[in-house]
Amino acid sequence: MATFQLEFVSPEKLLLSRPVEMAVLPAAEGEMGVLPGHAPMIVALRGGVISVREGGQDTEKLFVAGGFAEVTPTRVTILAEEATPVAQLSKADAERRIADCEKALAEATDATPEKREAAMARLLSARAMLAAAQAA
């Protein structure tokens, strides 16, 4: 089956670069499956799980806390600060993160709308992390 190059880059290093058949991205406006030959797009990602399909089966599930993806017909580049294999997610970690975010959101009541929105996005991403940890 046709493949495309999936690249996973964090600010610190290139995490992954290999040909895959399909990737499902948690785009800001809903899950998005990408097959080879996809129209060029630039997407913002929310917190969620990226699943990778190779050889007819799902081989890898990675959790990202947010980021961006550039899609071209031959390549998908994901810019994210961290990517954790879903199996390595810990519930306790996710719960701690949710608690932190909720606190930050509560403190941000009188901040600018943009700041509140950013805090809310972080909280949603933390919740997605917990959901992913529970599903694993």
Binding site: P11, K13, P40, M41
Partner: protein, 294 residues
């Protein structure tokens, strides 16, 4: 002429200095390699970020409500200079160079009637500039004691800069740091951060015309979250280059120091041997003339 004992002591002290500088050189060389690797592995992210920004910038450019991080406040009165230097010394002129460069820029700007604010990242540059421009300081950040400068640190600096922009504390922001050209050359240089100097969209790129990209969500929304990230990436790169440059510079400085110590030891040893021979000759003459007198 100095006594034999004094000479011996000096030779020993220079020898131990040479041991120290040699060890420092070796440590710097090892750290340099690691710092260079880190700088290199950070490149793909910055490159891709740049590509996205180029195409986004082209799409949003000219819109009246473009984000402030991209177009600035429109003013040109208050300049914020972020000066990145090393946290430690003993690296030749590394920190002084960036400090001097910053000083020249500050004077230029002030002569032109602008207000200058300084955000010093790194301890050495801060000490250098505080003597003369202490009143312009708005902040000081140091990563001394940290083993590795991570992306979070850069993000922290970026957050500070963004917060200041939102508070309307400056109009233009520039980054001053030592660009790492190669191990022995670091060039102090200035890079404009706000308004963002967008890379030109490269329409000849293999990917085909950039304008064909679709955006989800809309361009300006992506841009709003991409720009702070880009700021952090730029700062992260300057931190990494400073780090690599620092070790490069330290290695060169320590290499010179080791060589100088070697030369010094040679000279002192020669001096020591001459003195020793002179003493022996003197004693011989005394014995012989004593024997003749009997």
């Amino acid at each position: 002429m100095a006594s034999l004992k004094a000479l011996r002591m000096r030779i020993n002290s220079v020898k131990s200095t040479r041991k120290i500088t040699q060890a420092m050189k070796m440590v710097a060389a090892a750290k340099l390699r690691r710092a260079q690797n880190r700088a290199e592995s950070a490149r793909p992210y910055a490159e891709r970020m740049e590509r996205m920004l180029a195409s986004l910038g082209a799409a949003v450019a000219g819109q009246p409500d473009a984000p402030r991080l991209l177009v600035g406040t429109g003013g040109d009165q208050v300049h914020l200079l972020v000066v990145v230097s090393g946290d430690r010394g003993l690296a030749g002129a590394f920190n002084t160079n960036v400090g001097r460069f910053a000083r020249t820029r500050i004077r230029e700007l002030e002569t032109a009637g602008k207000t200058v604010k300084i955000l010093a990242v790194g301890r050495k540059g801060a000490t250098f500039l505080r003597r003369e421009f202490g009143s312009r300081f708005v902040g000081e950040i140091s990563f001394a004691g940290k083993k590795v400068v991570g992306f979070e640190d850069a993000a922290e600096v970026a957050a500070k800069i963004t917060a200041m922009l939102e508070a309307g504390e400056y109009d233009v922001c520039a980054l001053i740091y030592n660009r790492f050209r190669n191990v022995i050359t670091q060039v102090p240089s200035e890079q404009q951060l706000i308004p963002a100097a967008l890379p030109e969209a490269d329409s000849d790129a293999l990917e085909g015309p950039q304008a064909l990209y679709e955006y989800e969500p809309a361009e300006d929304e992506i841009l709003a979250s991409l720009l702070p990230q880009n700021l952090a990436v730029q700062i992260y790169r300057s931190l990494l280059e400073t780090n690599a440059g620092f070790y490069g510079s330290q290695m060169t400085a320590m290499d010179n120091a080791t060589r100088n110590a070697g030369e010094m030891i040679n000279k002192l040893t020669l001096n020591y041997n001459r003195t020793r021979q002179a003493n022996i000759t003197k004693e011989l003459i005394e014995i012989i003339s004593g024997a003749e007198a009997v």
